[in-house]
Symmetry: C2
Subunit: 390 residues, 2 copies
Amino acid sequence: MRLTQNLLLPIAAMTLLHGGFVSAYDGLVEKKVFTMPTYTTVGGTTLNDVKVGYETYGKLNAAGDNVIFVPHFFTANSHAAGKYRESDGASGYWDPIIGSGRPIDTDKYFVVSADTLVNLNTKDPNTTTTGPATINPDTAKPWGMTFPVVTYKDSVRVHKALLDSLGVTKLQATAGASGGSIQAMQWAAEYPDFVLRVVHVIGPGFAIHPYVIELVDEWILPIKLDPKWNNGDYYGREEPQDGLAQALKIVTISTRAFGWAEKTFGYKWADPVKDPAAAMDNRFAIEDTLNKAGAARAKSIDANSMIYMAKANQLYNLGDDVKKMKAAILFVPAASDGVFPPELSKRAAEMYRAQGGVAEVAVIDGDGGHLDGVFNVAKQGEAIRAFLAR
Amino acid sequence: MRLTQNLLLPIAAMTLLHGGFVSAYDGLVEKKVFTMPTYTTVGGTTLNDVKVGYETYGKLNAAGDNVIFVPHFFTANSHAAGKYRESDGASGYWDPIIGSGRPIDTDKYFVVSADTLVNLNTKDPNTTTTGPATINPDTAKPWGMTFPVVTYKDSVRVHKALLDSLGVTKLQATAGASGGSIQAMQWAAEYPDFVLRVVHVIGPGFAIHPYVIELVDEWILPIKLDPKWNNGDYYGREEPQDGLAQALKIVTISTRAFGWAEKTFGYKWADPVKDPAAAMDNRFAIEDTLNKAGAARAKSIDANSMIYMAKANQLYNLGDDVKKMKAAILFVPAASDGVFPPELSKRAAEMYRAQGGVAEVAVIDGDGGHLDGVFNVAKQGEAIRAFLAR
């Protein structure tokens, strides 16, 4: 069932494998960690010992210029493709388009993905990030809500340092879905001579939309209502898991659509002998399943980090930096997306063309909502392949 | 600003005027109260002294058959048109289409609207309802979450008793928006020989959609997360106003759309000297305004009633009763509606035609979302007028 894939995908319970050098993608993936001794945020706070996890697939060429960077979406981590072990139940979330012979062809490209700052999945051993759950060296306690505001631009700058450390000289493309699409675009604005192409899948265009500013506010409000959140000061005690579970439920509903609900659940009751009309606590299957999935998913997530990540999304706005961009852009919206509807991509493509840029649009058909850009991205796999070869 | 209209509309701080007889609509409206000594719910619980408020506009003819019943939407009450006093700031929510010479012409029709059971606005003196905030005569305390589950069918049956008491013999139409559209349809299924036409504005068709079952679950989850909700046992103490305010905020976002957010707020900050990028607590205008509006609106609302009303929406499903329906139906979806998208109306119209019924569809253009069916219903006013004359 798609649902499980959606909610549980980034929490394969694996041992974290740290590696000191770049290994080729041979079907098995190694999680590595990149460390910056010091990084100063866009907002001006200097952080020490900044760490992010990353994965690579394929081989870097001698020129260091056969590279595609794949930033991840809101609830994900850098496990974009492959498996850590043959026995893994699932592969990385974009596995259908990343690999040998696939649209993002690892026979040709060296593909890198990295965990963002303030990544949500702090309790997943395959995620490494720096954020509110990280120990503040000045207090020897987690930062909590005293962690500085970070933007996606901060993650991009840290990831640029990672690519520099790997010997990358040029990005053939940045390619990401949703929050990953935002970072992919931010890359091209920040490093216009370094990034040749952007594959912007289920993205907002050049700025978050005001409607979505409020939507992500809605996503995190359950956390803040949970008294265990305690203004972010919960480390070492009971955490706001109820609020977090409900927050994740709202994210799921926002990122899905009518067709998905109809096909996956219909009017089924949670319990065949408990008619929802008979008692206030009797539920429909869709409610019950999403409650349980949210609670399960919450186990690997840090509540404060979700609040920080929401903020990073709200702050995405390239403004006049769009004018500096040189990359060609492929917009890949999903037809039934209620978060970043195709109109946003079409509007951005028009605007980019008007300033002389190259922009193409390839829509993913389907009724699965926003997440069609994750689970059904292969529907536009050939458009992506062709765009990378242009 | 539309927003204020949306959130504050049903809480004009007016004195409740009880009236014992039907008065003509002359531009000033009188709120009256209908009492049923006893009513047994569809679920089998007998309630005593069931009261609902109602309003009428226009004059009942001698035959009692020039009547249009206007059930109200989720957060509204029976103030569909007119003003209580000349000095009122706003008229009833559908005033642009109800009145002398308007599409629902009070020179011709006797229009009745009534508060549902479990109406949300228990603290608004112009709302009278029976629900969880009502005193249970057996305990002399409010029912709270021990109130029986009620469906829209229950409200329809109570409203039928009201119409019987007024001498109504036939409904030229039932006409409502959203939750009101559901009741309008339920009327035609429950009383197929009594209802000639249904005007189903921004409605789901013949059943709630599974996606919306979950959406309304999302609407009420903030209430349940507020510790002051206390499983519904809060009467006489501090009430879960924080959760309620956030719940109402989610309803607003769900029932609005991208164009509305863009035009009303854009990227404005809540405070021009507090850059949202500078601190976690600095907000955008859309967040701040909706927080404040939700908190203001929450003052007139009972949290448990909102949970009961959500349940009533989830349970709407005519099932095979559709086959008994005889009324002609005008579906009036709103183009940018994300709650009940136009596709649902089109699908239902097709289904109704397939069983030999008369169904028309008239779409309200606009980018205001679901609430275009409340605030911009007049865009299809002439279609409604023509349908009523068919």
